[in-house]
Amino acid sequence: MEKRKRAVRYGCSFVILGVLLFILFIWNVNAGSVPLSVGEILNIIFRHQGEDVAINIVWEIRLPRILAVVILGGALSVSGFLLQTFFNNPIAGPFVLGISSGAKLVVALLMIYFLSMSVTMGSGAMILAAFTGSMISMGFVLAVSKKVQNMSMLVISGVMIGYICSAITDFVVTFADDSNIVNLHNWSLGSFSGMSWSNVQVMAMVVGISMIAAFLMSKPISAYQLGEVYAQNMGVNIRLFRVGLILLSSILSACVTAFAGPISFVGIAVPHITKSLLKTAKPILVIPACFLGGAVFCLFCDLIARTVFAPTELSISSVTAVFGAPVVIYIMIKRQKRI
């Protein structure tokens, strides 16, 4: 029976993802510039015994970073999935609505303002600034969405907002007193470096709640997959749905941008990989699978980024692009062949 085969496929996919997650998690905990034996690590984690330095390395450097990668990787891919479904566009990604540019703008403005007053910004303030900037961008996109019938207009408005924010940022940076602030471009590259437990707590909460909300939206999303008209006929409140989807995907991407900066390709590639694995697009399955898939993908990429050329850290976006782009191309070609 075909149905049985499909159920088996779903089950296997989740098991595979789970196993991969587990393996990569272990691998990541064991990898780093400072060699620590498996035994040492086990002792540190389960019995809290070991050298101070080693304990710090495992508990304060490796574990928070790995957890952040899992949470943010998952957030990115779910955000990408939501946007791809909504815009019915296979290359839509979490930053298509201009979110990261808005974040960068607010961070730049605040940094310049504070530094000119000889006040230093703490990391908490920077995170909040980035989040606020993202939300402001999202606010503009929402406002546009109310006036517009065709959803492709939203992508255009997102791109435009991205350009406007970048332009304003460059303008402001030109007149900044601190010439080093030009280094703000480093901010555009994204990195998982320097995560702390307090970061992890906050992101776990934000992403966790958003994930649950997204999961609960599975039904209207799958109605929407048939098209807006049919979805409306089936009882979906299209306006609320739009707002909800934009809001959720923006919060997820804003969270990533705030803590790690914009990380490209995960949001675009992982949903495709997940759908190919599951052979279905049903949100009730794809959303959790995307989360796992994104976590796995980012764990793998971060491992490479931080260990291959240690102590130099590769830019995580380059690694995700190197692994993500070929996958996307391959999937696109396969799909074209079928049609």
């Binding site: 330095v53 000889s118 910004m121 920077m126 606020t132 601190d178 320097g194 102590p311 130099t312």
Partner: protein
């Protein structure tokens, strides 16, 4: 729209509230009173204004860096006094396994034979122009620990780092500073680049001298440089004008702001920096970009040109210079063959600032066309 405005205001308030680490520009005390310690005397500083050192009985020293914080150097074998103010960071001697990110400090460490205390570097081997640093990295005595915004924490921890010396760029990545401090590694943000007098920068070697307990050596080396300067200062002002700049990839001219330490060096060497009146004075660090047109108008008649090669690479011939911009051919200095170029090591060799001023003075005063090589500059052919 109202909903959004309210939201924005709320965000703004939250941000204000969460700005951690507010350091206002405090008025400096004449000296700091510390409970449990008796004040002895303060360090004499000739040119430096961004830091001060107060000495206390028993060998304690308090380093105060404007806007960066206070550091109490505690001698080996002794402990910090009880009830010490939480704002003061304790640096227990011997300070070892330093993680050095601020490149300008390396030369100062070299001058006081302190490179051995540096274990971790924020710059790779091929990024250093100071031979001793290069040697140390090659031999493995100093290792690369990642860029300032993404350091290898594991390595730093594992090496038992005792102090991180960062430049003000770290303020763009506050989470790095916070993480290092979380591990108990004190972070000293050096501000030598904010010194308005060039020798003020060099005088920072005295601060590092305090850290390493090599104040005498620091004094000696500093004396050498400052006497060189005195010699130059005693000479008359030549009245000649010097332009110091480079042309970036977009074709704009990057000039020093008036009051910046390079323009100061030129002034001290007996010359006058052009273009004049560029930029505001509240931040002595910066350079600024100027359009070629404006630069042409202001600097065309400069007597000398010193091209800043530290960003784009050293030039050897005038043709190479002209390939950056044809207009330069019209400049008086180019026509007279008075174009010099800095070595790439200019900004890293903070100790040699006195020598640099001497070099500039030489350029301005020696009319010998055959003179081509100076310590820090060479003439373009």
């Amino acid at each position: 729209m109202n909903k959004y405005i309210k939201w924005l205001l709320l965000m703004a308030v939250l941000i204000m509230g969460l700005s951690t680490g507010v350091y206002g520009a405090e008025k400096e005390d004449s000296h700091r009173e510390i409970k449990g310690l008796t004040y002895d005397h303060s360090m004499e500083l000739s040119y430096a204004e961004e830091f001060s050192v107060d000495y206390y009985e028993g060998g304690y020293a308090l380093i105060t860096i404007d806007q960066s914080g206070e550091f109490l150097v505690v001698p080996e074998g002794r402990k910090a006094p009880e009830g010490l103010d939480g704002d003061i960071t304790v640096l227990q001697q011997p300070v070892s396994n330093i993680y050095l990110v601020a490149t300008s400090a390396m030369d100062l460490f070299r001058a006081i034979d302190g490179i051995d205390s540096i274990r971790l570097s924020g710059t790779k081997e091929n990024g250093w122009y100071i031979q001793e640093a290069k040697d140390a990295m090659e031999s493995g005595k100093m290792i690369y620990a990642g860029k300032y915004n993404a350091p290898d924490y594991e390595l730093i921890l594992n090496e038992g780092c005792g102090l991180a010396i960062e430049s003000t760029m770290i303020y763009h990545n506050p989470e790095v500073k916070e993480k290092l401090e979380q591990f108990g590694i004190p972070v000293l943000v050096e501000r030598s680049s904010y010194e308005s007098h060039p020798l003020g920068r060099t005088e920072w070697m005295k601060l590092y001298g305090v850290l390493l307990g090599r104040e005498d050596q620091a004094e000696k080396v500093f004396e050498e440089q400052s006497s060189k300067l005195e010699k130059v200062l005693s000479a008359e002002n030549t009245g000649k004008t010097v332009a110091f700049f480079y042309i970036n990839s977009t074709g704009a001219v990057n000039v020093r702001k008036s009051g910046d330490y390079v323009s100061e060096m030129i002034r001290l060497a007996g010359g006058k920096y052009v273009p004049e009146d560029t930029g505001s004075n509240d931040n002595a660090l910066s350079t600024m970009n100027m359009q070629m047109e404006e630069f042409y108008a202001k600097a065309k008649d400069a007597d000398y040109i010193i091209y800043n090669s530290t960003i784009d690479g050293e030039l050897t011939t005038i043709d190479e210079l002209l390939s950056k911009s044809e207009l330069l051919a019209d400049f008086k200095a180019v026509k007279n063959g008075n174009v010099w170029c800095t070595g790439k090591n200019l900004f890293q060799e903070t100790t040699g600032l006195g020598t640099m001023i001497e070099d500039i003075h030489t350029i301005l005063t020696e009319d010998d066309a055959s003179l081509e090589e100076l310590t820090y500059m060479h003439r373009l052919k």
